[in-house]
Symmetry: D2
């Protein structure tokens, strides 16, 4: 395939079209590692609340690249020098920033692998691709790791106002139909500038930043941490935990080979050699959901119950509250289930449990969002805002939950 044919466009209902502007980008997108992202949903189990939320990490990554293109155009227009080499590196870095996500990431990070976060795996994939592409990803990796001297480039990839957040808020809002989560990424981008190697927002964009933070906060509570999404994700984590437990006990569960590999082995970051990475690259939402579909009919009561809850959307209840859930309440409720369904303590823990969730709309301790004043001085957005509400938004909100099933089901057979 010659290079001119690699300058493709993708349809995107959000931006109209996303263009591929060089052959290397095309080759990276065509790579099986990247094509895999077509089979990893961006919002995990949220489609059980928002039936339209089936968009993928593939589409999100393309979207990020698109707004990176727009951003570079704006910055150059304002006189920020960005070389062609840097430009390409930024596209590669943003395109691949999420490539390490496994199926249903958060559930996976604590069950399929052992506390390996997706950023580390993204980096492993980048290194592997860099070898395949003869070092053409060098600069992208340098930026991604924060080792490049122009720090604002890292902040385009990863910060509190990066391309990633701008695209996912817009995209998640669009596909789920949670209209309030929509942000004006186009205006935010128009307001971006670089001052003293910092990514900054022009002062007149301050209301848009506020709006962006409020939208993000709303998306957290209304979509990502919605009670039903949360219930579904917690059940999923329990399913994988149970499956791993049974596997460790010697059971061989129906599952795809890659999934079986991760159930049978405790994989830490150190174990991630090229073979493991390749096996990981074969894993996506389809492995997990297909396994759950099979396990509905497993003989293990706990496993089959949890799987049927997921497949038939018969999810447990979640009670959310501002105060901690008392240990006593959990114990009492568990006792009730133990008696009623004749469960062991260990089994009951899979059905009745507590925990907490936390969100912070703006993180004051990390790299701040910088506001560029008219005199070209730079200030943290929290200081620049004319009201106290941004200070308020930087206070983390913690909520506590109690999760328990409405009722357990009859055994199913196939």
């Amino acid at each position: 395939m010659n290079n001119i044919n690699k300058l493709k466009i993708f349809n995107d209902p959000i931006y109209g079209f996303v263009s591929i502007t060089n052959p290397l980008i095309y080759d990276l997108i065509q790579h099986p590692y990247f094509q895999r992202l077509r089979r990893i949903s961006q919002m995990g189990m949220s489609y059980l609340v928002y039936p339209g939320a089936h968009h993928t990490r593939f589409h999100h990554a393309l979207g990020c690249m698109h707004i990176m293109q727009k951003t570079i155009q704006v910055l150059r227009f304002k006189g920020v020098e960005i070389s062609d080499k840097e430009e390409n590196a930024l596209y590669i870095a943003i395109l691949l920033h999420d490539i390490g996500h496994g199926p249903f990431s958060h559930a996976m990070e604590h069950s399929i692998v052992e506390d390996v976060n997706h950023e580390s795996i993204s980096l492993l994939f980048m290194d592997k691709l860099n070898r395949e592409f003869n070092g053409q990803l060098d600069l992208a990796i340098k930026i991604f790791k924060g080792e490049y001297h122009r720090k604002f480039m890292l902040h385009l990839i990863s910060s509190q106002l990066d391309m990633d957040r701008m695209d996912y808020l817009k995209r998640d809002s669009f596909y789920s139909g949670v209209a309030e989560g929509n942000i004006n990424s186009e205006r935010l981008i128009q307001m971006l500038d670089v001052e003293d190697d910092k990514l900054v927002i022009e002062e007149k964009g301050i209301y848009s930043v506020e709006k962006f933070l409020v939208a993000r906060r709303l998306m957290y509570w209304q979509a990502y941490l919605h009670k039903t999404s949360l219930a579904a994700e917690l059940v999923l984590t329990k399913i994988l935990k149970r499956a791993k437990e049974l596997t460790q006990q010697g059971r061989v569960l129906h599952a795809s080979k890659p999934l079986q590999f991760f159930l049978q082995n405790k994989i830490t970051l150190e174990d991630f050699n090229d073979d493991v990475l390749y096996t990981f690259s074969l894993l996506d939402d389809f492995d997990v959901i297909s396994a759950i579909k099979e396990w509905q009919f497993d003989d293990d009561f706990v496993l089959s119950q949890l799987c049927r809850m997921t497949i038939n959307r018969d999810l447990p209840k979640i009670r959310l509250q501002a105060e901690k859930v008392s240990k006593e309440e959990v114990i009492a409720l568990r006792e009730k289930f133990k008696t009623e369904y004749n469960l062991s303590e260990k089994e009951a823990e899979y059905f009745v449990f507590k925990g907490k969730i936390k969100n912070q709309a703006y993180n004051k301790t990390g790299e701040p969002i910088h506001i560029l004043k008219k005199d070209r001085s730079v200030e943290d957005v929290v200081e620049a805002s004319d009201q106290l509400n941004l200070k308020a938004l930087s206070k983390p909100v913690t909520k506590y939950y109690l999760c328990f099933p409405k009722v357990l089901l009859e055994k199913a057979v196939i």
Copy 2:
């Protein structure tokens, strides 16, 4: 025209279609008093900043009626009893709530009439229409005046979360293209309920309320009080003031008869008899803009200068700041202009002046936005919010401005 033909629909790019559901509503819309609203822009001079903002009070009033229809549907679905008579009264009241607006309302309220606000004039129009329609507006007027025993109906018409605000934020955002001002009125409406004769929002809608308040705040600073909109509106006020001043001195300015009437007479609320009301009903944006177009060529230097600034969008500068503008600075600047253009003190005051603007996203002293908790208790949204930012939003923000022209222009001739 028979009644069935009065059940018309209007196209609305925002809601798709707006339906007229009874013949009386049709007749009110057809009335010249209401048709006049087609010639009164909703956002005044803001089109000088946002070229799309040419939508009218006519369209806004139809939009309000439309969301009132949706709201009544939701409330009835939740078991709130609303009789057919009350339903119609609510449509009439919301349809006519803004009928008293004159051209460029705020400018007008302090120049064309003498401190008569548009709500009072709306009521005069309603009374007049009620006589024409044989008392069919009785209940609507009662609700509008707050004299009906079911108070939540007043709050549908006028409160911090009324149909008016829901429509104008959405509409102004849509036509101006200030995307961040868009609110999810559909979701807000779905969350409405009535408890203990109070209009309330279900607890799960609290993030939408926050978003609504933040959007409103953003629209104030980014659109309604945008520096250029503000400059244009201030110049307009000065134009009308100067025109009135010259008229009082005996000059007869080119102007339509209705406009001349209001320039020649000081009209207070007491003076507003049926004749005055009729003359007022002949007045709209076209009278004002046409006069300004003529006055560009007037012999009075001040008047012609100000008019040309408006017509050619050559507006004065505005400096906005958190602190008061010092008297000294204004005097010094005025001196400069007096010398340079050979102006009297009085003349110079038309060009160089200071003032302040204020906005409060949420008013804690008025009727609060009520949140309906799961146990059906009712709480002020500021108390119910899990973070401090709503408290912050209820603090009024004041900004001070200094307005002065870049340069004055050569005399124009026609």
Copy 3:
């Protein structure tokens, strides 16, 4: 769960909200048969062209119900009598009209089952649900089968301007981003009426009907029959054919139990007893894609090749043309591949083949789209149109294709 809690709303980015208006509808949606539709994509393999096209038959069915609600509201407003019982039956019928779809329907209809179309299976599901729900689906089934005396109700469910088409065109256009496919369903619905038991469109809606037909035609050629979608679907059909062939030869392929059942047995409509139906109800996109993911590593060269083409989006080329593809060309091309890759004739047929596709924007022989003239006479839209283009649109367009791989791949191992 009491009945009031069953009156839920769903978010829909297209319509805002979709409401469930009675408890039976809620129970049907909650049923595993219906929840299964969450795992069946509406546009099959089209996401390989349009990365956003991951919406499901679940969402589509809800959308259809929503516009049925709007339609009934409009028809009643115009004086068409529809009883509450009929109303509910219409909701049920439209909700379930597609419930018989299997994964990747068209591929499935000729491989997984033996020429059993999805409508027949929908009816089997409805009958089964009717038994479970004690006959509450009687009227819905009667309408669906065309046995109810009020024929216009059938046409709301199934005709050239039914709720199904209005929703899927709008939805497919929305999620894929093929903006031209968007139709103004709201306007079409506003124009619907019933005359002489026929579903009709008011004359002033004729341009909207034209636009609807042109949009549908565009969606066929630009999305549903897009070269890449077509290639992907053809490959999928070949995969299932090969899998069935190997299974018949005694191989046991990795696959979920339900999929294995359909590979091992030739199931015709007569075989579809309750057990088969239940097994069918366990089958969705996940079974098929997961199997393909496994089969990438199968020892059978043909099967593994085809599977890898799909998973890595390395699809064969399609040449589309107006004239038939000659047998000679196919043979010659096959020979080339046979030699190059050492394939048997039978194997080569899986890679190099020809066929045809057909689309007809308007079908003149079926139930026409009726136009209601001002004098309330009814005319076929083709006659009523003032230009010839609708006649043109009723001419079927056939295109012929030749499909062949760019190159075959190295064997993969896991």
Copy 4:
């Protein structure tokens, strides 16, 4: 003002933002000749049918420039060489292509001036501006006149698929809410190319072209030639005709000076010297509507009647039909009105009259829309389409109308 400050952006709800990319463009937009377009509505009287249709020629011209920017980007990406000088000339030409429009163009072209079309006046404005800007518009004017050797540049400005049409269809559809008129200009632009100095569309864009033509046709019949819009425009023409007639008889009507000038003088293209052009530049919608508002109270029965019809939206009826309206019917109807209202024949002709309107979705005799086939041969879109409907669309459709008032009104007084 220094040049960097002239690189402004405008909000546009359709495209997000429109950028000014060079100082000369800024200066042209700031010029009073161009600012005047803010006061000229794009859709004339259509707001009487579509209440949102208040957008202006100013916004349209900016929109055209925006899509010209996109187009040039696409063409350059495909290897078409366009110099910076040519680029700027294209922006200027498209920006100014409509600057010659007067208020309510079509009404005006046959009443205010004597058969002077707006293109000629645009050229006069361009020449005048070129003198003011020292020849910087030379190339733009050359392109606009079709005198530049690269013909495809003219076709970007003026052809059956030019920037003008792409913007106005999209914009008129957006603001009016006639959703079916929306076109996918972004896709059309992506498909543009230049072959053999012809502007062409890639073959795969053919369905988009069809959709574009069908959308344009729909906008004609549903918006531009909608019965009520047509009635309003015909009444407006009659008003201006009557005003001119009365003026010629020696009456001095209330009107702005520029409007009076054009009522008192018969201005042909030859008369258009700089002074006339300047007077013309002072004329906009406000002059016309304000005059009509005054003339409601004029003593002339015909004039006041027609004006009140417009202001109160009490428009005459229009009967549209495929066959000519017979002279006899018109005479009979006129007699009725003459008797009933005691009118002379001449007066009655203002109220009862017939005429015809015509639309042709695609003009086969003009410059065709060219399709670029895969082998880079070029074909007229009508030949390239796989169905006959484009041939159908190139047949002009003529409709005949009869216009007459429902009733005439009582005399009004101010």
